[in-house]
Symmetry: C2
Subunit: 290 residues, 2 copies
Amino acid sequence: MAKKDKGGKRAPAAAPVRELLRVGPGFRLADVDARRVVAGPADKVRAAAEVGALEPEVTEWQEKLYAESKGGGNRRLLVVLQGMDTSGKGGAIKAIDRVSEPLGLRIAQFGAPTKKELKKHYLWRIEQKLPPPGAIGVFDRSHYEDVLVVRVRNLVPADIWEPRYDEINAWEKACVEAGVTFLKCMLFISPEEQRQRLLDRLADPTKQWKYRPGDVDDRLLWPDFMEAYEAALTRCSTDHAPWYVIPADRKWHRNWLLARMVVETLREMNPQYPATTFDVAAETRRVQES
Amino acid sequence: MAKKDKGGKRAPAAAPVRELLRVGPGFRLADVDARRVVAGPADKVRAAAEVGALEPEVTEWQEKLYAESKGGGNRRLLVVLQGMDTSGKGGAIKAIDRVSEPLGLRIAQFGAPTKKELKKHYLWRIEQKLPPPGAIGVFDRSHYEDVLVVRVRNLVPADIWEPRYDEINAWEKACVEAGVTFLKCMLFISPEEQRQRLLDRLADPTKQWKYRPGDVDDRLLWPDFMEAYEAALTRCSTDHAPWYVIPADRKWHRNWLLARMVVETLREMNPQYPATTFDVAAETRRVQES
């Protein structure tokens, strides 16, 4: 699975992390332990060091992916992040940023849709933010909100949201055919951890702006959200765009898992520099003489 | 000019760098020395260390800017980067990324317009990529291409591009009124430095994909491009959105100048956490009981 590039330069290949986290048949959120250390270092310091050590490899893959697109390729990576409030989507994005190059990274946040967006198909605003060929996109929330909060809060009737699972699968398939590789990750925290994180926000005057009283309203609907998540995860974990559930109570482990999954995916994509289409010696002379 | 926040935490305020680089009346590109060290450290190691030391401050400003927008503010910073091929726009973006938080950064690249874009007004695609309130946007090329390459290569007749200078000034004014603070920077390299950078690309098989034979064609039009740049810089360096010219032959100095200018601008914007709009004690109880 984890292909090596330029033998010897890479860290030794470990078991693919994605396979440990993939949502398959019979998946149940209730079986996931949010505090579990699934693989890799069991302490914060070593986990952070391993994440840092991945940077040169990610940078090289990103450059190749971008170069490939300049040679006509259409491939791109799209990391979709979902999770309850305080589950660490922002922190996860920082972890991805830490190992990657800014020019190749396209981050999009999806809050409550605007009036203009509500007038269009719910996938319209998502489509606008697809990363271009050669880039890595990160979605902070996504089209899955249209089968999560929309379902839990009855923002549209069931006969509207019910067909969306199939629609999302079909749309993602079309994206894959247009060169998109999906890495869909749910950051799974426990309700106890969320309570602590909300209390931490309230206790710090420079963090209070992150708190909305509505956060507790969502929290009171925790079982409903878990039911909606389980439906989305199981119905939309397809061969072409699987879902992964990341135990996220431990931030350093969440970051390590995510960085590893990004690297694994890039290795599998294995982008390549395009062939040179000009005469290097002749161009060198032209530049020298200019 | 350079406002301090939480006295004592900041590095000592130096003379504002922007004033040294600002395009004013009588500006001539021919007077700019691309190798000059304008201010700050005269060596690479110290310059890089000073850039790194700015990170906590930029992060804090970014968080405040974002928090302010969550409280209803509409302010955002837009860094516009222009320059000839190899002038280091990508490197400049890395320098900005190094001192800032990924979630608050919105990078957009503007290449040759697509067929769809060509059917619309030239400012349309630019407007789509304006950073949202609370964010820092970085444009790698911009609407200025419509008075640069378009003018030099006669892509449209003069009576089409000529009114664009005024149009751009008016459009930027409207952006400023909608909360955008512009930091428009031209990265100015010498033709000799460009020759060396092009030769470096050609000599490295992993960099050859960055080279296009068209780069030399542009290079042969260097005086025409400088004329077009001078017109854009002087006609569009307004009080509401001034132009700055950054000597960019020395990459470490270019990065230092840019990082300083970003910090200066954020200090001047001086974003603030919004006032808390809920009862902290009551919400703390709600969370504890949930």
